[in-house]
C-alpha cells in the first residue's frame, strides 16, 4: 500500500500545483477536482473509507461541480459557444483525465488485492464509529457548525444582493 500512497500523494501535489498555475479557471477547477479525488484516495488507503467517500461526495461532487456551473454560467454572452468549444477541447481535459485514470487503476488494483494495510497499525474506521463520535462527544461542534453556516449564509446573502433598496 505504500506505493499507492505515494502515487496518490504525487497526483495530489501535481494536480494542486496545476490548479494554481493554470490561467483558465475551468481548467484549474478540473485539476482541483482531481486533487480532491486523490486526497480521498489517501483516506481510503489509511483506513478511513467514510471520510474518503464524503470527500468525493461533498467536495468533488457537490462544491466543485457547483463552482464549475457558476463559472460556466457567468460567461453567458455572444461568444459563449466559441468559449464552450474551447473549454471542451481535448487538451483541456486530457491532463486531469489521465490523472483520474491513474487513480482509478490504482483503486481497481487495490480492490482486487483486497484488504487494508493492517501491518502499519491502520484500522478501518467505519460509519458507525464516525457517527457515534460526531453525535456523542462532538455534538456541540455539529451544532456550532450549523451556526457557522448560518453566519456564512447571512454574510453571503447580504454581500450578494445587487439592489440598493428593498
Amino acid at each position: 500500500m505504500e506505493f499507492e500512497f505515494y502515487l496518490s500523494s504525487a497526483i495530489t501535489l501535481f494536480a494542486t500545483i496545476r490548479t494554481i498555475t493554470n490561467t483558465n479557471p475551468v481548467h484549474g477547477l478540473l485539476y482541483l477536482i482531481v486533487s480532491l479525488i486523490a486526497v480521498a484516495m489517501i483516506f481510503f488507503i489509511i483506513g478511513a473509507p467514510f471520510v474518503g467517500a464524503l470527500e468525493i461526495v461533498v467536495y468533488a461532487g457537490t462544491i466543485m461541480v457547483l463552482f464549475m456551473f457558476v463559472i460556466m454560467m457567468l460567461n453567458l454572452g455572444k461568444d459563449v459557444v466559441k468559449q464552450e468549444q474551447q473549454w471542451t477541447a481535448p487538451d483541456l481535459w486530457l491532463g486531469p483525465g489521465l490523472l483520474s485514470l491513474a487513480l482509478l487503476l490504482q483503486l481497481l488494483y487495490a480492490i482486487s488485492t483486497g484488504g487494508f494495510h493492517t501491518a502499519a497499525g491502520i484500522t478501518n474506521i467505519d460509519v458507525h464509529q464516525v457517527s457515534t463520535t460526531l453525535y456523542g462527544a462532538y455534538l456541540l461542534c455539529v451544532e456550532l457548525a450549523s451556526l457557522l453556516l448560518l453566519a456564512a449564509l447571512v454574510a453571503a446573502y447580504h454581500l450578494g444582493r445587487t439592489t440598493e433598496n428593498e
Binding site: 456523542g136 462527544a137 462532538y138 455534538l139 456541540l140 461542534c141 451544532e143 456550532l144 457548525a145 451556526l147 457557522l148 448560518l150 453566519a151 456564512a152 447571512v154 454574510a155 453571503a156 446573502y157 447580504h158 454581500l159 444582493r161 439592489t163 440598493e164 433598496n165 428593498e166
Partner: protein
C-alpha cells in the same frame, strides 16, 4: 473521560446557548418582518439575557466541563462577560449609525451576535476542534461585517482583505494543529500536555513547527507585527461600529483562547516560546507606535495603537507571572477605552452618510460644541496612553510590575519608549479636540433620542475608565487568577 453532555454542562453553557438562540430568533425576526427598531431590540435583549445568565452561571457553577471540547471556568466567564459587554456596546453604537444606511440594516446585528457566540465558544474551548470552530465562527461573520457597507469600495476592500488573510491564518492554524496531532495523537489540550510530558519530547522539530504555526495564526488575529498588515486597512474600511467590535470583542476572545492554550499546555509554554513572544511584543510595541505617529486618519491611528497595546499585553505573557491578573486588568482597561474611542467615531459619524468622519482635523474643536463627548474621548485617550488615575494606568502598571519582577529589562525599555511615543500622538488628538475650530469642516451632531442613548453610554464608559483607575478593587475581585485544567 466525560464525553457526553450532562445537565450541569448545559447549565454552564447557558450563556452560549442564549446567544445562539438570540441569533436564530433574530434571523427569524428579520425573516418575518424587517423592522430596524424591533429587530435590534430583540437581539440586544437576547445578549443582555446572555450577560445576566453568564453572571448567574458563574455563581451557580464556577467550574464545569462541558464535554471534552469545552470547559466553562472563571477564565471563560470573565472573557465571556467582556465579549458580551463589547458586543452590546457595539450594537447600541450601531443603531443610530445604521439608521440612514441604504439597504438592509438588520443583518449587521445578526452577524455581530453570531460573532459574539463564536468568541464565547473560543474562550471556553480546551480542544482543537472547539478552538477551530470558535475561531471560524468569530471570523466568518467578521468578513460580512467588515464589508457591510459594500457600496463603499473601502469597506469591500476591507472585507476581502480580511477574508483572504484570515483564511491564510486559518490554514496556518490547521497545519499547526495537524503537526501537533501527528506527534501526540491527541486533540484536547490536556491530552497533548500528557503526551508531551510522557515522552518528554517538547523540543522536537515537529512540535516546534506546529506550535509556531499556531502562534502565527494567533498573532494574525491579534494583529501583532509582522502579521499586522491587514489591520490599518480593515480598521479604516470597516464601518465604525464594526471597527469597534473588531478591536474589542474579536481580539479579547482571541487573547482569551491563547491564554487558555498556553496555560493548559504548559509543556509548550517554554523558554523558547517566550523568547518568540518577547520578540513579537518588542517589535509590535515599537512598530505600532512609530506607525501610529505618522497617521492623520484617526481610525488608522487607533489601529496602529491597538497593535502596540497587544504588544504591551504580551509582556505579561512573556513574564509569565500573575499573567491572568495582569492581562485581565489590561484587557478591561483596553476594552473600555477602545469602546469609547471607536464609539466616538461611530457616534459623530452617525447617521451614516457614506463615509465615516475619520480625518483628524474634522475633530477640531469638538469640545466646544459637545463638551461631554469630548471629555469622555479625552479620558479614553489618556487611559490608552496610560496616564495615572485612568484604568489604562492600572493595566500598564501591572504589566510593568510583572515585567520588573521577572527582570525583562529590554522589553520594559520598549514599553517605556512606546508609552512616550504613544503620549505624543494621543496628545495630538486631544489638543485637536480643544482648539477653536475653523467653521468649514466642523462636525454637526444631529440630536435625537437614539443618539442620546449611545452618547450616554459613551459617557458612562468614560466615567468607568476614571472610576476603575481610581478604585480598581472591584475589578481585581472578579478577575480570575487561575485557568482550570482538568486532565
Amino acid at each position: 473521560m466525560s464525553t457526553n453532555l450532562t445537565s450541569d454542562g448545559i447549565i454552564a453553557f447557558i450563556p452560549i446557548i442564549v446567544a445562539a438562540t438570540t441569533a436564530t430568533l433574530g434571523m427569524l425576526g428579520i425573516a418575518i418582518k424587517r423592522d430596524h427598531f424591533w429587530n435590534t431590540t430583540l437581539m440586544l435583549g437576547g445578549l443582555t439575557l446572555a450577560l445576566i445568565s453568564s453572571v448567574w452561571a458563574w455563581q451557580y457553577l464556577p467550574t464545569e466541563a462541558v464535554t471534552d471540547l469545552f470547559i466553562v471556568d472563571a477564565h471563560a466567564h470573565f472573557y465571556m462577560l467582556a465579549i458580551l459587554i463589547a458586543t452590546i456596546a457595539c450594537i447600541i453604537l450601531a443603531y443610530p449609525y445604521m439608521q440612514s444606511h441604504s439597504g438592509n440594516r438588520e443583518e449587521l446585528y445578526l452577524l455581530m451576535v453570531l460573532a459574539a457566540t463564536g468568541g464565547m465558544v473560543l474562550v471556553c474551548s480546551r480542544h482543537f476542534a472547539g478552538l477551530f470552530i470558535g475561531l471560524e465562527l468569530l471570523s466568518i461573520p467578521m468578513y460580512g461585517l467588515a464589508a457591510y457597507s459594500f457600496q463603499r469600495s473601502h469597506s469591500l476592500e476591507a472585507g476581502i482583505k480580511y477574508l483572504l488573510l484570515s483564511a491564510v491564518a486559518t490554514a496556518f492554524l490547521l497545519f499547526g494543529m495537524a503537526l501537533l496531532y501527528a506527534h501526540t495523537g491527541q486533540l484536547s489540550y490536556a491530552g497533548i500536555e500528557q503526551a508531551l510530558q510522557a515522552n518528554n519530547s517538547v523540543s522536537t522539530n515537529l512540535v516546534w513547527t506546529g506550535t509556531s504555526m499556531m502562534l502565527v495564526a494567533f498573532a494574525f488575529k491579534l494583529s501583532l507585527v509582522p502579521f499586522h498588515l491587514w489591520t490599518p486597512d480593515v480598521y479604516e474600511g470597516a464601518p465604525a461600529p464594526v471597527t469597534a467590535f473588531l478591536a474589542t470583542a474579536s481580539k479579547i476572545a482571541v487573547i482569551g483562547a491563547l491564554l487558555r492554550f498556553l496555560y493548559t499546555v504548559p509543556a509548550l509554554n517554554s523558554e523558547y516560546l517566550r523568547e518568540v513572544l518577547a520578540i513579537l511584543a518588542g517589535i509590535s510595541i515599537i512598530g505600532g507606535n512609530l506607525l501610529a505617529l505618522l497617521q492623520t486618519n484617526v481610525k488608522r491611528l487607533l489601529a496602529f495603537s491597538s497593535i502596540a497595546h497587544f504588544g504591551y499585553l504580551l509582556i505579561a505573557l512573556v513574564a509569565s507571572q500573575q499573567v491572568l491578573v495582569a492581562t485581565g486588568i489590561y484587557i478591561s482597561a483596553y476594552l473600555l477605552a477602545t469602546l469609547t474611542t471607536f464609539g466616538t467615531i461611530a457616534y459623530v459619524s452617525s447617521p451614516y452618510q457614506g463615509t465615516d468622519i475619520e480625518e483628524l482635523d474634522r475633530y477640531q474643536g469638538l469640545f466646544w460644541h459637545s463638551p461631554y463627548l469630548a471629555t469622555a474621548l479625552t479620558v479614553a485617550l489618556l487611559s490608552l496612553a496610560g496616564i495615572p488615575l485612568t484604568a489604562g494606568f492600572i493595566g500598564k502598571f501591572y504589566v510593568m510590575f510583572v515585567g520588573v519582577n521577572t527582570a525583562h529589562w529590554w522589553l520594559l525599555g520598549t514599553l517605556v519608549i512606546g508609552t512616550v511615543i504613544g503620549i505624543a500622538y494621543y496628545l495630538r488628538i486631544i489638543t485637536t479636540l480643544y482648539v477653536t475650530a475653523s467653521s468649514t469642516n466642523q462636525i454637526r451632531l444631529p440630536i435625537g433620542w437614539n443618539h442620546t442613548i449611545s452618547g450616554a453610554m459613551l459617557i458612562i464608559i468614560g466615567i468607568l475608565v476614571i472610576l476603575l483607575g481610581a478604585y480598581p478593587q472591584p475589578l481585581l475581585i472578579i478577575i480570575p487568577s487561575t485557568i482550570t485544567n482538568l486532565g
